[in-house]
């Protein structure tokens, strides 16, 4: 039986406070033990802070057209020949400060990423719960749709949705709508994984005796799903959400790079790289590389967090 049999806690001891339990939990411990994870968390936090505070910490306002001068275009980073201290990381073809552009781009990339993750999770969790708990025809229908969609990578679905939306609404104002189109297409591309995971955990939980006990008591199905099953299937959802945040940011950047994401008037990191790509051959590498590095480091940090979370929440690896 090994050491697992020692969970007998005397019932007379007072219950420890919530804070105490969080600090003392295995999760916290495994977090603090992994230096890489702590670094990744700090890094992610810094990126988020930089994004939130962009208007305050950015040296220039890249949207202030009056402040731009074509004379400042394509200035290299400060440590290179012809670099200027006004523009730490140099400027792009329109004379926008790259550092400021990256800070604002980060903001857009993160907002799109986070919103689409929430939207995808909301769709996926509710469909997964219903499919798993109700079973039968509803389950078959939802899962067949998921199966068909899973055959296609998210990026392809997002491209198709983007194309279809533009076909339906014609050339509506991209500056306003591309943000929403992006979030919708990302959410509709990523819901499947949540739905499948939640469904399979729901199938397991549904047959556990605590759910049967709830049914014997007479609790209605909707409440059983929300109050009893949902909290017990959320663990893997957090893991997927973290990993998918990284994936959503990458996909958004890719779409913007391909020219169907954020427009150049509201550049995300992907848009910036796309702009810079045209100048790669003429030696102005910084316009593409710096936003690219920022994107890669952000995604790496989030991925590291997701990796750790997956291992820490996997009971088999304890």
């Amino acid at each position: 039986m090994g050491p697992s049999g020692q969970d007998q806690t005397s019932s007379a001891a007072p219950a420890p406070s919530v804070l105490r339990r969080v600090l003392d939990s295995d999760l916290t411990h495994s977090f603090l033990r992994s230096k890489v994870t702590v670094a990744a968390a700090t890094g992610t936090l810094l990126f988020v802070l930089a994004a939130i505070l962009a208007p305050m910490i950015a040296p220039h306002d890249p949207f202030d057209l009056a402040g731009l001068s074509i004379m400042d275009a394509r200035i290299p980073p400060v440590w290179m020949e012809y670099g200027e201290p006004r523009f730490l990381l140099g400027t792009d073809d329109q004379g926008r400060d790259l550092l400021s552009g990256i800070l604002y781009g980060l903001r857009i990339s993160l907002i799109v990423g986070i919103c689409s993750v929430f939207a995808a999770a909301a769709i996926g969790i509710s469909l997964g719960l219903v499919a798993g708990y109700a079973g039968g025809k509803i389950d078959a229908l939802i899962m067949r749709i998921a199966d068909v969609q899973l055959t296609f990578p998210a990026i392809l679905i997002a491209l198709l949705i983007d194309g279809a939306v533009r076909g339906i609404f014609g050339n509506l104002d991209r500056e306003i709508f591309s943000f929403w189109i992006l979030i919708c297409s990302l959410a509709l591309s990523f819901w499947v994984q949540y739905a499948r995971t939640v469904r399979s955990s729901t199938l397991v939980e549904k047959n556990k005796e605590y759910v049967q006990a709830a049914r014997v008591i007479g609790i209605p199905s909707v409440i059983i799903m929300i109050r009893h099953i949902l909290p017990n299937v959320l663990g893997p959802v957090f893991v997927i959400a973290t990993i998918n945040l990284a994936l959503a940011i990458v996909t958004e950047a890719t779409l913007s790079f391909l020219g169907v994401g954020m427009p150049s008037t509201q550049p995300s990191l992907g848009t910036l790289i796309s702009i810079g790509n045209d100048f790669l051959y003429s030696g102005e590498w910084w316009i593409a590389i710096f936003p690219g590095v920022a994107l890669a480091v952000l995604v790496l940090n989030v991925n590291l967090l997701g990796d750790w979370l997956r291992d820490a929440l996997n009971p088999k690896l304890r």
Binding site: T151, I155, N277, L280, I289
Partner: protein, 324 residues
């Protein structure tokens, strides 16, 4: 076996029909096909005549049936932007995409599988940790950025390899062009295939490692140890084969998605494949091309999945008996 294959085949056909329905709805309801095909000055009568000729006034089920019949014969109509038959446009570009995808898949499998097995078995060695760190970076770098970095390093800075196009191609028959037979063609393949294959390689490697670690924890591996088998026998004979089952499924899906991911790589390297064509179609709302691309890629995915299912069946005796 036959019954199993038949059932899977029927499922594949249903998936294809579902995809065809989506493609059809896009074609029929996203914008008005007639408006896309004619100029501004065309009269209402001429439009109506075209509408009648295209059969757009027929009942929808009939239109759908016609759409499916045509698609099965590779007839996807006329591209809005190029005013050419969609089938011709694709015929010219399919070889480029398939050659690129094949090379990348080969690279991903040949590098990913051994690395995954090694990292799963030697969990603590520095080399596995290196593999794992590199794979994390590989997953975190967006495909297009990897392409840009490779171009910047090997084309712009070192000037070793070309940064765009397929190089010189040789025609085989009347419908296939290959880059495998010329030096410049092979050189042109290197950067795009690494760009495209790197992500799949890291995924395959991580997957095999994770599955290996799971299998090693099972009771039958513990019992195999208690029987006194050598580590080698335990890992190669028992663990690896059990690892393969989930790996094959997911690897199949991954290889299928290579064809779709090729869109990005083709854009970065200006590779004249069908991904590039598709992207132009999305930007210009060229619905017939989009619909055709959707059906073609779906067909490739479904075929790969079908093969994977059959493989699965051959490996797992539990399935074989249940069906018999």
């Amino acid at each position: 076996m036959l019954g199993f294959a038949l059932r899977r085949f029927v499922q594949a056909v249903i998936v294809m029909l579902a995809v065809a329905l989506i493609a059809f709805s896009m074609f029929r309801f996203v914008g008005d096909p007639v408006n896309q095909m004619v100029g501004m000055e065309t009269s209402i009568e001429a439009r109506e005549a075209l509408r009648e000729r295209l059969g757009l006034n027929d009942p929808l089920p009939l239109q759908f049936t016609r759409f499916v019949t045509n698609a099965a014969q590779f007839d996807f109509g006329t591209s809005y932007q190029f005013r050419q038959p969609v089938a011709d446009l694709f015929a010219k570009r399919i070889p480029a995409t398939l050659e690129l995808s094949f090379t990348s898949a080969l690279f991903a499998l040949l590098a990913g599988i051994p690395m995954g097995i090694y990292a799963g078995l030697n969990r603590e060695s520095w080399l596995s940790k290196l593999f794992l760190s590199v794979s994390l970076i590989g997953i975190s770098l967006p495909t297009f950025f990897i392409g840009i970095l490779l171009i910047f390093l090997f084309s712009v800075t070192l000037q070793w390899l070309p940064s765009f196009g397929r190089g010189d191609v040789v025609e085989i028959g009347s419908w296939w062009t290959t880059g495998f037979l010329t030096v410049s063609g092979l050189k042109a393949l290197i950067l795009p295939s690494i760009t495209l294959g790197l992500y799949q390689m890291t995924l395959i490697m991580r997957l095999i490692r994770a599955e290996m670690l799971e299998v090693i924890r099972t009771d039958y591996i513990k019992f195999a140890r208690a029987r006194g088998l050598s580590n080698r026998a335990i890992y190669l004979r028992h663990a690896l084969k059990n690892t393969l089952i989930p790996v094959i499924t997911i690897t199949g899906l991954q290889l299928g998605s290579i064809i779709a991911f090729a869109t990005i790589t083709e854009t970065v390297f200006q590779w004249p494949g069908m991904g590039l064509l598709f992207l132009q179609a999305v930007q210009n709302v060229d619905i017939p091309v989009m619909a055709a691309y959707l059906i073609l890629t779906a067909f490739l995915f479904v075929s790969i999945n079908f093969i994977v299912d059959i493989l699965y069946f051959l490996i797992d005796p539990r399935l074989r008996v249940k069906q018999a």
